[in-house]
């Protein structure tokens, strides 16, 4: 009886040897990943105990919306507020990036304003969405939320060494968002005295980048505004409107679209128009959420943490 082995099959010893190589590769990868994530998370917090600036972003609460995509948007917005109140710290401010209401009625503005008084933070900032100015070019919005703003509701402020701009690109809409000559002049003059190492944060409702122009997801004169920001080391643009997370970098500028607290919209180009999506039961809150933003002095980029609605 012969016991000749097929040269194409693997002996037990070879199998063990290959298994050892595989195990070594997996083990090294796991150790490497642990080391890198440890460096990323522990080292900065060891040097600086607390971030310089912490704030939260809410967007597209659409108070007053009635539909199967979310039968109770007020409840979802209340949960989002509760989530912010339970972050474990008090955010320096909270920004709502527009579409606070669904149809800009006085009752809806009253309801959303009352709900937002429950947010535990020293300052609340907002920018209007197109739903907040459906019939009056934003007059009711400015009456409710426009105190201290300029022009049609735009503003800027400095906090913890960061310069923040709140822009309005939902008035004079044709298809895309629009800033207008007055606001562009404001941006140019506002940024002119700042040093190039000042971190810039920009809030707007409609994206300042061309996310999907066919659906109006872009701003026709944003290039002009962004040209005033090119000299800065770090520019972070936070927007709402598209009801989904999306990010893009373009040179020194990073754009982050936020999700919503109301109802999801389709991904760009999925279907003929951005209509509210009705998700299967139990999946809605996974599509909704809030965003935490942290800035630590000395670190160029802002840190974003997306959180699903609880």
């Amino acid at each position: 009886m012969t016991s000749e082995r097929d040269p194409h099959t693997m002996s037990r010893r070879q199998l063990i040897r290959h298994g050892a190589w595989f195990g070594a590769a997996v083990g090294l990868a796991v150790v490497g990943g642990e080391v890198l994530s440890h460096i990323a998370t522990v080292a900065p917090t060891a040097q600086i105990a607390q971030p310089t600036l912490r704030f939260a972003q809410l967007s597209d609460s659409h108070i007053g919306f009635h539909g199967t995509a979310n039968p109770d948007v007020a409840d979802s917005f209340g949960r989002a507020i509760s989530q912010i109140n339970n972050l474990g710290y008090t955010p320096d401010f909270v920004i709502h990036t527009g579409d606070l209401t669904h149809l800009a009625t006085p009752g809806q503005f009253d309801q959303v304003k009352q709900m937002m008084t429950g947010i535990r933070t020293p300052h609340i900032f907002t920018v209007p969405g197109e739903h907040d100015s459906v019939d009056d070019a934003g007059q009711k919005y400015r009456a409710a939320f426009g105190a201290g703003t300029r022009g049609d509701g735009w503003y800027s402020f400095d906090v913890a060494g960061v310069h923040v701009l709140g822009l309005v690109n939902t008035l004079n809409l044709k298809k895309l968002g629009h800033l207008g000559a007055d606001q562009l002049e404001f941006v140019e003059k506002d940024l002119a005295p700042l040093s190039a190492d000042t971190p810039i944060i920009v809030f707007s409702h409609i994206p300042l980048f061309a996310m999907y122009p066919d659906w109006g997801w872009g701003t026709d004169d944003a290039t002009q505004a962004l040209s005033y920001m090119r000299r800065f080391a770090s520019v972070t643009c936070l927007n709402g409107h598209v009801h989904q997370l999306f990010s893009k970098t373009d040179g020194n500028v990073t754009f982050y679209s936020a999700t919503t607290t109301a109802y999801p919209l389709p991904h760009p180009g999925d279907g003929p128009a951005p209509k509210p999506l009705t998700l299967p039961a139990g999946q809605l809150h996974d599509a909704l959420g809030i965003r935490e933003v942290t800035y630590t002095k000395g670190q160029g980029a802002l840190a974003l943490k997306e959180e699903k609605l609880q």
Partner: protein, 126 residues
């Protein structure tokens, strides 16, 4: 081990380490906060370093196949991030410079060298 094999291994290890260094640097400097993509950078960095070590130690040929597939995946992800987007993440051209260009060149080099190495192995088997 022939001089040719040594040279190929050296090139593959160098390509993997350069790409890992680029992705690791970007991960530590902001990219870790980008949903999904940040985790992808962490995984790519650690797997590329692990592959570089085991290939440098003279591991079997299938490690070259792994390196080839992973590098092809990285090149594909780069292409997606410049076109239709990768998990909602889009970048323009060669941003962030110079890391985008460095890692892409390193990954293409790794793919080519791994393909050459595997071709030699297949020939010797047949």
């Amino acid at each position: 081990m022939t001089l040719r094999t040594l040279a190929l291994n050296f090139g593959i290890v160098a390509g993997l380490l350069v790409s890992a260094a680029s992705h690791g640097y970007l991960y530590l400097h902001g990219y870790r906060h980008i949903p999904v993509v940040g985790t992808g950078f962490l995984v790519l960095t650690s797997v590329f370093v692990a592959l570089a070590i085991v290939i440098a130690l003279g591991g079997p040929a299938w490690l070259h196949a792994m390196a080839l597939l992973m590098s092809l995946g990285a090149v594909g992800a780069f292409a997606l991030s410049r076109t239709v987007g990768l998990f909602g993440f889009v970048e323009h051209g060669w941003q962030p410079a110079p890391h985008a260009a460095i890692s892409l060149i390193a990954e293409v080099l790794t793919v080519v060298l791994c393909a050459v190495s595997l071709r030699g192995v297949l020939r010797s088997v047949s």
